[in-house]
């Protein structure tokens, strides 16, 4: 089942376990700031099961990281309001006590971040940090924990793990540091791995190594993976289902094939059209999305993409629900245009998919 289908079922009724590994329902996260209330995530739902990979794609400020930090319980603070449900193995994490959450975090759910240098402590040897992480969750003695750390460094492809355990993070290259982060994430056999832009800071050749490594380990351990990225190339390569987020909301959800070959939301068209590709000849102009993402302090009324959308009309002042409108079953979007209009409007003059310039639309 796709993340999309789960969203469709999400109703305001009380939580009923569906047997999914992770199910996020109608999550809303608000931060009280000096400038007012900032709604980082609005009514966001997704789910992922063991062995599946869900991609979440969006630009900076789209709420993709906040939603997943909230799953890990890392946004809890007095000035944060969280609504909705986060069911992990049938248990609502939002209702879990901090100590319960601390047990789940790093044990059942692990997370890797974009910047492996700031995620490792610069003062402690890599081995010390790994052994601590094992001992926090398993009753192993130091030798046992060390053995576990060695095995994992070996598993993620770090040569000479014995010597590497005695080194500090700065002695590792970017790609090697990310491997250490992955090894640390796997120390306690997590059921779910949340990867937040794990390859963004890496060169393409190293990115290819890391993506391949995550895919291999996922298969070996039957993990669920949430891959958060801004790169549609990474989405196409590693995920099966994908959610597109914009201004804190999921605007389109479906399988990768549905998103790439039959995109329903104008923001998705804009994203696809603004990509430069290594396999496409230089063409005249990229189809760009005009303007900038809206402020989350004062989000626009109705559809969040309305101010930038060349196809917006009166009805767009009302927020469209995320539901099935066109395309295959399970493919959801938040756009009032009719499926026929979408088929026509998303095609540019050269036959590719993109967002038209406002003047071409004649608005």
């Amino acid at each position: 089942m796709t993340g999309a289908e789960a969203t469709q079922q999400a109703t305001p009724q009380p939580a009923k376990p569906t047997g999914k590994l992770l199910e996020v329902r109608n999550l809303t996260v608000r931060f009280e700031t000096e400038d007012g209330t900032l709604t980082a995530v609005s009514d966001c739902s997704f789910s992922v099961d063991r062995g599946e990979t869900l991609g979440i794609v969006g630009e900076s400020g789209s709420g993709k990281s906040v939603a997943n930090l909230t799953v890990m319980g890392l946004t809890r603070s007095p000035n944060t309001t969280i609504e909705g449900e986060i069911l992990f193995d049938g248990k609502d994490l939002l209702k879990a006590k901090p100590e319960e959450l601390a047990q789940i975090r790093g044990n059942d759910i692990a997370m890797i971040f974009q910047d492996p240098l700031t995620s490792l402590h610069p003062f402690y040897k890599v081995g010390w940090q790994m052994i601590e992480a094992v001992q926090a969750h398993q009753s192993l003695n130091k030798d046992g924990a060390r053995k576990r750390a060695l095995d994992l460094l070996d598993l993620v492809g770090i040569p000479e793990p014995q010597r590497r355990l005695e080194q500090y993070p700065h002695e590792f290259s970017g790609g090697m540091r990310q491997r250490v982060m992955i090894a640390m994430a796997l120390l306690n056999d997590p059921k779910l791995l949340i990867a937040d832009e794990p390859t963004t800071a890496l060169d393409v050749t190293i990115q290819a190594q890391i993506l391949r490594l995550i895919a291999r380990l996922q298969k070996e351990f039957e993990m669920g993976v949430v891959m958060i990225t801004h790169d549609l190339g990474v989405i196409a390569e590693v995920t099966r289902d994908v959610n597109v987020m914009y201004a804190g909301r999921v605007v389109e959800a479906g399988s990768v094939d549905q998103l790439f070959y039959n995109p329903q939301h104008p923001y998705s068209w804009g994203l696809l059209g603004s990509l430069t590709r290594v396999d496409v000849l230089r063409h005249s102009r990229l189809s760009q999305i005009k303007g900038q993402p809206p402020s989350l302090l004062q989000p626009p009324e109705g559809c969040p993409f309305r101010p930038r959308c060349p196809h917006a009309f009166n009805k767009c002042h009302e927020l469209p629900p995320l539901e099935h409108r066109g395309g295959d079953p399970g493919h959801l979007d938040r756009c009032w245009l009719s499926p026929d209009q979408k088929q026509e409007l998303r095609v540019l003059d050269d036959g590719s998919i993109g967002l038209r310039e406002p003047e071409e639309v004649g608005a």
Binding site: S173, T205, Q209, E237, D257, F260, Q292
Partner: protein, 351 residues
């Protein structure tokens, strides 16, 4: 049309450019114990009106090369000619009039603008310092520039922190344009920006190029962006040029195995294309430029390396009508099947 040498009048000629950074040791007396060979014997030519893309992994010397071209750092040896005039060895006063014609756009739109200056000063200071305009004339000139890059005249009195990343990059572009340069070196100008904003900036740079007949050296690690903007591409590895040639030739029929592995490592935003190719995944990391492998610097990671690659340095020579490369085992002659399998099919078919 279409040769490894490019077309048109040469505007920038780089010959055997070398930049080593000494590694020093010792407390009282500095002893040089080695050198980081950041740029080692690089030669290429950029012709008027074209865009040359420069790609390579981090640490391969792309940024050092840019800085050495602009004489922001002093090259160890070699020559840089701009419009026929030698720049290496000129004193800063002699360089000043030439600097007006060569400008740079930086990667980080947050770090490259002075937070304590207003936009009007950031863009206007170069104009004023060069005595081109002042007072009211300066203000109109700056406001025209701001409008040209997609900002508005009212932004004149604002500070950089009031702008988003994409808008800041527009300010940086306006500053680079202020002196009507002929050559712009753009060092990763869009890599800090979101995809939709990237497209806006790339479109803007292309519009400005045709409007002002600009010549670009465009540095990026995103191979898709580089393909989109470039007429010719130079691929660097550990301070040396591995391959240089027409953009389409380099992307569709790469000669150097490093070029192929870079290209095949880029995930294609198309699930079917992605699953239909067999990428070459390089093992290991980039070796240290302080201690580069002997002979062919790529031989330690190259899937096709043989003995000669570790004993003899391959010369940078033509391998097709529009590509030159430094390789003992050029893919177009020895491994054409690897190219066909590793690159997306649309690409191979389109040639």
């Amino acid at each position: 049309m279409g040769s490894a040498e490019g077309t048109g009048r040469p505007l920038l000629e780089v010959n055997n450019l070398v930049k080593y950074f000494p590694i020093k040791s010792g407390i009282l007396i500095d002893r040089q114990v080695g050198a980081v060979q950041a740029v080692d014997d690089v030669s290429f030519t950029v012709h008027e009106g074209e865009t040359v893309g420069l790609v390579g992994e981090s640490g391969c010397g792309k940024s050092t090369l840019c800085r050495a071209i602009l004489q922001l750092i002093e090259p160890t040896s070699g020559s840089v000619k701009f419009d026929g005039r030698e720049l290496v060895g000129l004193r800063s006063r002699e360089l000043r009039p030439i600097r007006r014609e060569m400008q740079m756009i930086f990667q980080d739109p947050y770090a490259s603008l002075n937070p304590r200056k207003r936009v009007g000063e950031i863009v206007g200071d170069p104009i004023q310092l060069n005595g081109i305009a002042s007072g009211k004339g300066l203000r109109t000139q700056v406001q025209d520039l701001l409008e040209r890059v997609g900002l508005s005249a009212e932004h004149f009195n604002r500070y950089p922190h009031e702008f988003s990343g994409g808008q800041r990059q527009r300010i940086g572009i306006a500053r680079a344009l202020a002196l009507r340069p002929r050559l712009i070196i753009a060092d990763e100008p869009v890599s800090a920006l979101d995809v939709s904003i990237q497209a806006q900036i790339i479109n803007l740079l292309e519009d400005l190029q045709s409007e002002f007949n600009l010549t670009y050296v465009f540095v990026a690690h995103d191979l898709g962006v580089v393909r989109h903007v470039s007429d010719r591409i130079a691929v660097m590895y550990l301070g040396k040029i591995a391959e240089i040639g027409d953009a389409d030739a380099v992307y569709e029929n790469p000669v150097h195995p490093y070029t192929l592995s870079l290209l095949s490592a880029v995930p294609i935003p198309d699930p079917r294309e992605n699953s239909s190719r067999k990428p070459i995944i390089l093992e290991g990391d980039l070796p240290s430029p302080a201690n580069p492998p002997p002979a062919c610097r790529f031989h330690t990671r190259c899937p096709y390396a043989t003995e000669i690659c570790s004993t003899e340095e391959p010369p940078l020579i033509p391998h097709s009508s529009n590509q030159i490369a430094a390789c003992h085992h050029p893919l177009n002659k020895e491994h054409p099947e690897a190219v066909a399998a590793a690159l997306p099919h649309s690409q191979v078919n389109s040639t």
